[in-house]
Structure formats: structure tokens, C-alpha cells
């Protein structure tokens, strides 16, 4: 017989960017909350340090591909192969424990992609069931609770904000300064991108002592980085209403005969299967795993997976491939750029964010100059692989290269999806997520145009050679996951409503990036946290009090297109 735990008000599956704010909001509202994570609860001050081999090569935080494999194929005719697609750490804190931390706000246009562009052939564009103005107060709350550094007013096309940032940006790195020079020469509006770390003298009073430059892919042993484990989770625990159950793999969401969620079944670290009942079930496993758990949770009422009457669960997945251009500088003539310094990015731009059809594509993404990295893994595409040439390349370019990255805003397609692999199983014996993905023509065009533009900026900054890294196929290397459990107004075309609440299963919510109907042009995590907070307010103030409410949408035609001035 299965063990059963005392029922609680709310169960949260996944304690990353989506789960963290939900835990805080609901426990602060007085509800009993249990949060599950399949990974361990690492303690930053004890477990993290600047060990390149451990973090970048030996996967101390990256998911183990043999325990948690995924499979990938480009179309329905191919057999999917095992590949660590869009890996995000499995531990309390999820991706926030080692992410680079670009946390820019989205813009108005992100929410009305279909109104702006209509039907794009081969894609499945949609408007969001919310607008920027619904999210704005929550973006501010996250910036001030989680802790974001930024410079208000520096992005000339930014949408309205109700409050300044709690912390100033870091000084630019030397490669950051070069980026500003290249951008100004071309009339491009560059600015210090908002980052999820704090600097000295921040309004939150948190320490900001980490300038080790071991940042993207590393855990931070200090509180300089903003992560779920050093912000939302301690705040939730302080209420006395929240319990973390780490090393607990949730394998199934239970429903009753009417199809309401009754709780979850999980496997603890000793392999014991346990049931946890709750009044509300929140999924925040990351968009790939949230879709997978729904597809795994079949029942008489939902034979095709939980809340999947529409058949949309898993579809329209978007992944934001990370592309870039590298510039090589002359190590005799030019000052060192020290591409290994800084907290990953050091200046970016949203100048090319809004659609300009003369470029040959719609949409646009964010760019930023980013570290080329530490010695073992320094990014230098085409580096000689051995011999004198390799040693010379390392000596010449370790401190004389820079790169400008780009987050590709990929178009949602129904055929780009997550489903269950028919043969491959994970270490818990369950079918793994299979990703079917092929770039849309717009994705290929957008990425080529932008990477060529990034090379122009590098040339304007004085690079002697520029090296493009274009899109060929998606690898999930940005570790951004969106769209698999769409929000929308129409229950036949979407899975969730505007509160992240499943159509037809009123006590099931999905609060990670899975709900995003279209990929943002910016990195998603700030928006994931703000949206989770917004929906959790609804759960606490309306749903759990036995009420329901619908959100009114403003007239979509009125939204102004933002252009940098």
C-alpha cells in the first residue's frame, strides 16, 4: 500500500523560477504549502565555488544525461536520438541557481504577436490572454524582492515602469566598453541589461561581494546572485507554512472521477512511493517537464493526459536558441579585453527588438556582449584542437576576443512539440520527453540577419576577424523553455486561461514558461516569476476563497509599436 501524507492546501511541483514565487505568495497568504523538487537542496555557502571543471565539464549542476535523458528529432518521420536538449539544473532553485541572469522586461508587442502579424504561414501565432500592463506591477515586485540591477531610462524603447531598480548595474567590463563603442559608432542604443544580481549599496541591503567572474553555469556561494534559494524560498519558510521536499520525484498528478486534481504521487530518495493530497496543484517543472508530467498523468477522464481535451499539451514549444558572433582582436596592438571577466553579460541592446519587415523577417530579439569564458572552455569557434596552433590560439586570444550573443525569438509551430518517447526511459523508469523541432524559415532569417549585424558591431569596435555562429538546428542551448501548455481564451486552442489555470480543471495551475503562447524576444525568467506571482495572487485571493474571476482585455489595436528614438 502507498504511504499517504497529511493533506495540505497547495502542492507545488518544481522549485525553480516558476515555483519559487508561488511558494512565497501562497504561504504568506496563510495556506499550508508543500514544494517538491526532484533534485537536492544544495546550500550555496557550503556547496558552490569557482571550479570550472566541476561546473562546465563534469556536470555538477547540469542534469546527468544518463539519469534524465531527453530525445530529439527534426520531424515525425525520424527516430529521435538521446540528447541533453535544453538542460536546466535539477535542484531546489532550478535554473536560477546557475543562470547568467539577464532579466530584461518584455515589451508590449510581446503580448500581441498575432494582432501585429496575423497568421504567419507554417507558424501558430497567438495573442496572450494578458497584456504588459497586467504584468507590470508584478515585474516591479520581482525586481524588488528577488533583486535586479539595472539603469532605468537607458533602453530608449522600454515600456512603462512604475519604479526604478533597487540596484545599480555593475561597471562595464573592458569588452563591455568595446561593445558600447561599436554600438555608438553605428547609432545603436546600447545599455546595461538588467541582471539578477545586486551591486554594492543596493536598496535591499543584501551583500554584493562576489566579483569572482565565475558566474554563468556556476552556483554563487554569496548572496550577490539573486536566486530562488536565497530569496523566495527563505521568505516562504519564514511564514512557517511552507515545507520543502527535496530529492522527491513527482511521477503523477491524481484526479478524481470528475477530473479535479486531488494531489500528486512522488518517489522519495529511498525509492518509496508516497501520495500527497492537496486542494490546489501547481506545476512548475519547466515547460518540457510540466508537459511531460501532464502527458504521463493519464486517467479515465483524461486518456490523452491531464487537462488535454484540446490535444494542445506539448505543442507550440519554443526554445530561444542562443547564437553569437565572436570578434578576434590583435594581441599586440589592442588593449586586453579579458573576456573571462564579469557577471556574464556586460551591455546589450533591444534596438532590433520590434518588427521591421524590411529586414526580411518579423519579430526580433535581444543582443548582449557576453563572456568568452574561462580557460578550459573558452569560446573560440574553430579553435585548432591540438598542437602548437592550439597553444598559440589560447595565448593570443584568451584575453583578446569578445562575443556578442543573440536570443532568437523563435516562432511557435504546432509540429514543434514535446511528447513521450516510445522507448527511452529515465532513472525512475518513466518515458522521457521527446522533442520534435525544426526551425521556421523566419527563425533562420532572423538569426542570420542579427548575427551579421553583431559582426558589424564587432567590426566597428575594431575586431580583426569576426566569426559567426548561426542557427542550423535547435540544441536548446539557451535553456529557455516556453509554450508547451499554452494560455489562451479558447479552450479548444489552449490549455490554460489567463490565470495559468487549466480549462476544465479549476484547481490545476501551470506557472512556468509553459503557458507563454509565443516566445518573448527577451530571456523569459523575469516574466516567469512575475506571471507566477500574479497567478498565485489570484489563487490566494480569489480561487481558494471559492470564487472565480475573468480578466478584461484592453483593445489590442491601441498598443503602440515601440521604436528606439
Amino acid at each position: 500500500m502507498k504511504r499517504k501524507m497529511e493533506p495540505v492546501d497547495v502542492v507545488i511541483v518544481g522549485l525553480g523560477a516558476g515555483g519559487g514565487p508561488a511558494a512565497m505568495v501562497l504561504s504568506q497568504a496563510g495556506y499550508k504549502v508543500v514544494g517538491f523538487d526532484k533534485g537536492p537542496w544544495l546550500r550555496p555557502a557550503e556547496h558552490y565555488s569557482g571550479d570550472e571543471l566541476k561546473y562546465q565539464n563534469r556536470s555538477y549542476l547540469w542534469p546527468d544525461v544518463d539519469l534524465m535523458p531527453r530525445t530529439v528529432r527534426s520531424d515525425d518521420q525520424s527516430v529521435a536520438e538521446i540528447f541533453n536538449f535544453s538542460p536546466v539544473p535539477s535542484n531546489v532553485g532550478g535554473g536560477t541557481s546557475h543562470m547568467a541572469g539577464w532579466t530584461p522586461r518584455p515589451r508590449e508587442s510581446d503580448f500581441i504577436f498575432h494582432s501585429l502579424h496575423g497568421d504567419l504561414a507554417g507558424a501558430n501565432l497567438a495573442d496572450w490572454p494578458i497584456r504588459y500592463e497586467h504584468l507590470e506591477p508584478y515585474l516591479t515586485k520581482v525586481e524588488w524582492t528577488y533583486g535586479i540591477s539595472g539603469l532605468a531610462g537607458a533602453d530608449k524603447g522600454a515600456a512603462f515602469r512604475s519604479k526604478d531598480y533597487p540596484s545599480e548595474p555593475l561597471p562595464p567590463t573592458r569588452f563591455g566598453k568595446k561593445f558600447y563603442e561599436g554600438a555608438s559608432a553605428l547609432g545603436i542604443n546600447a545599455f546595461p541589461l538588467p541582471m539578477s544580481h545586486l551591486t554594492e549599496g543596493n536598496a535591499l541591503g543584501r551583500p554584493a561581494v562576489n566579483r569572482s567572474s565565475f558566474w554563468n553555469q556556476y552556483g554563487d556561494p554569496t548572496e550577490t546572485r539573486s536566486s530562488v534559494t536565497t530569496t523566495f524560498i527563505p521568505l516562504a519558510l519564514a511564514t512557517g507554512n511552507f515545507e520543502v521536499r527535496a530529492d522527491s520525484f513527482v511521477r503523477h498528478v491524481k484526479v478524481d472521477r470528475q477530473g479535479r486534481a486531488t494531489g500528486v504521487v512522488y518517489v522519495d530518495n529511498d525509492g518509496v512511493e508516497i501520495e500527497q493530497d492537496a486542494r490546489v496543484v501547481i506545476l512548475a517543472l519547466g515547460a518540457i517537464e510540466s508537459a511531460r508530467l501532464m502527458l504521463l498523468s493519464k486517467s479515465a477522464r483524461f486518456p490523452d493526459g491531464l487537462a488535454n481535451d484540446s490535444g494542445v499539451v506539448g505543442k507550440n514549444a519554443t526554445f530561444h536558441e542562443y547564437l553569437f558572433a565572436v570578434g578576434l582582436f590583435d594581441n599586440e596592438r589592442d588593449e586586453p579585453l579579458n573576456g573571462w571577466t564579469g557577471n556574464y553579460q556586460s551591455g546589450g541592446s533591444m534596438h532590433f527588438y520590434e518588427t521591421d519587415e524590411s529586414r526580411g523577417h518579423i519579430g526580433g530579439g535581444i543582443i548582449a556582449t557576453t563572456q568568452t569564458g574561462q580557460p578550459i572552455n573558452m569560446i573560440l569557434p574553430g579553435r585548432p584542437t591540438w598542437g602548437q596552433a592550439m597553444k598559440d590560439a589560447d595565448r593570443s586570444y584568451f584575453s583578446h576576443a569578445m562575443k556578442i550573443g543573440f536570443i532568437l525569438q523563435d516562432m511557435p509551430q504546432e509540429t514543434n512539440r514535446v511528447d513521450l518517447d516510445p522507448t527511452v526511459k529515465d532513472a525512475w523508469g518513466l518515458p522521457v520527453a521527446r522533442i520534435t523541432n525544426r526551425p521556421h524559415a523566419n527563425d533562420l532569417a532572423m538569426s542570420r540577419w542579427q548575427i551579421d549585424k553583431n559582426m558589424e558591431i564587432l567590426q566597428a569596435a575594431g575586431a580583426t576577424r569576426t566569426i559567426p555562429v548561426y542557427l542550423e538546428r535547435f540544441t536548446g542551448n539557451a535553456c529557455h523553455q516556453q509554450g508547451t501548455v499554452r494560455m489562451g481564451i479558447d479552450p479548444e486552442k489552449s490549455v490554460l486561461n489567463e490565470w495559468g489555470q487549466a480549462h476544465g480543471v479549476d484547481n490545476l495551475f501551470v506557472l512556468d514558461g509553459a503557458g507563454f503562447p509565443t516566445a518573448l524576444g527577451v530571456n523569459p525568467t523575469l516574466t516567469i516569476m512575475a506571471n507566477s506571482w500574479r497567478c498565485s495572487d489570484y489563487i490566494a485571493q480569489t480561487h481558494l476563497r471559492g470564487r472565480a474571476d475573468r480578466l478584461e482585455l484592453p483593445n489590442t489595436g491601441e498598443v503602440r509599436r515601440q521604436e528606439p528614438k
Partner: protein, 233 residues
């Protein structure tokens, strides 16, 4: 089962000068040391041999005891649970890959009329590596090249690669990883390329190690961002 959060810390460090062999035979040790010396050769600056790369690789192959240093660097984490099971299986594959790789190096050297790989001249060793890799010895980076590349994952694991690229990756790791793992002796690798890394891992945990001096010290946002006016104070 012990959670990853509670893996035991086993104190002790690896001596880069040691010639004690935990995995390799004497012949395998000498062969891989010779190959590593062609991958990062010694010139006016030290190379793989001086950095103790062979000790680094031997310890890594010997089991899973040296996979992860403790955060502060005074010892190693004893892996447990599912992670340990997966790591052990990979380690067994890696051992087979190296055992086979050494035989392959000697076989190709034999075809070129040599007694063994390790006894061949540097030039002949390079020829063996060319044959093994299936391509000519890499040429210096060209500033005129128009080559294009495609995106790949962040993080560089050694999963599922053939022997030669695996060896090249491990040699880089042994040359540049924190010295706690047995290579990069006295931080020589870092000195060769001018990386002022931390004295020890502990220094990266509390702000003792800082790269603040490499950030731009004097700057003004309104100069870097034309048209931007700082608001207020």
C-alpha cells in the same frame, strides 16, 4: 540514500609530481604523457608534461573518487546514489576507451615502422595523431577565414566521443583546471595564457578572490550611452 547535498567530503589533495599510478600501467602512462605533450607541446612556455596532465588523467580514470572537488578545494566529494551509479558506468566506458586508445596509438606507430608510440620522434608522433584523428595537424587560426559555425550546447562533457577528441579535451582540462585535480601544476597553465585565477577554490567563496580590477574603473553611463541622462542624484 544520501542526498547530493550531503555527500561526504573526503579530505586530501592530488600531488602533481606523483608517479604513483592508480589506473594506467607504466607503458600506458608513458604513452598518454607523450601524446599529451604533442597536444599541448612545450615551447618557450611549459606544456602538458610540465603541468602534470598525466596525473590529472590517471586520477580521473581511476574511479569516481576524484570527479568533484569539495567547494573549498581541500578534498573530494564521495558521490552516492543514482549519480554514483551513472558515473561508475561512464567511468568503466572511459577506462575501456583509453586502454583501446593506447593500443591504437602503438598500432599506428608500428605501421609507420616504430617500436611504439612513446619511442617515436615528435614528428612521427604527430603523424600518428593525424592518422588517428583522420585530419591534418591543425593549422594556426587564420585572420582571413570566412568559416561559419553552428550553435551547440553550453557545457562540455566527455560523453560519447571517440578516443582522440576525448584525449584532447582531457589534456586541456588537465592543463587549465584548478590544480586541486592534479594538473595545472602550480597554475602553469593559467600563467601561459595570462589568467589570474584564484589562489585556491576557497578564495572564490567569500569575495577574497576578486576580478574587480579588470572592470572599467572610470566610466560615465551618459558617455557610453549617447542620449542617456542619468536621472536625479
Amino acid at each position: 540514500m544520501i542526498s547530493k547535498a550531503d555527500w561526504e567530503e573526503v579530505p586530501g589533495t592530488i600531488d602533481s609530481d606523483s608517479d604513483e599510478k592508480l589506473f594506467f600501467s607504466v607503458h600506458e602512462w608513458d604513452t598518454i604523457d607523450a601524446a599529451a605533450s604533442r597536444i599541448i607541446p612545450t615551447d618557450a612556455d611549459p606544456g602538458a608534461h610540465e603541468a602534470g596532465v598525466i596525473v590529472f588523467i590517471d586520477r580521473y580514470l581511476s574511479g569516481i573518487e576524484f570527479n568533484f572537488a569539495t567547494a573549498a578545494g581541500g578534498g573530494f566529494l564521495q558521490m552516492a546514489g543514482k549519480d554514483a551509479v551513472a558515473a561508475r558506468a561512464r567511468n568503466a566506458n572511459m577506462q575501456r576507451l583509453y586502454r583501446g586508445g593506447v593500443k591504437e596509438l602503438d598500432r599506428i606507430a608500428g605501421e609507420l615502422g616504430q617500436q611504439s608510440f612513446k619511442s617515436a620522434s615528435a614528428d612521427v608522433q604527430d603523424q600518428v595523431l593525424e592518422q588517428l584523428s583522420g585530419s591534418p595537424k591543425p593549422a594556426p587560426i587564420s585572420l582571413d577565414s570566412r568559416e561559419v559555425f553552428h550553435s551547440r550546447l553550453q557545457g562540455n562533457t566527455d560523453d560519447g566521443m571517440p578516443f582522440f577528441p576525448t584525449l584532447c579535451l582531457h589534456v586541456r582540462q588537465g592543463f587549465y583546471a584548478d590544480p586541486v585535480y592534479g594538473g595545472n601544476k602550480g597554475q602553469v597553465g593559467w600563467r601561459v595564457i595570462g589568467f589570474p585565477g584564484p589562489k585556491c577554490l576557497r578564495d572564490t567563496m567569500d569575495g577574497t578572490y576578486s576580478t574587480a580590477e579588470y572592470f572599467v574603473q572610470e566610466y560615465d553611463w551618459s558617455e557610453l550611452i549617447p542620449g542617456f541622462k542619468a536621472s536625479g542624484g
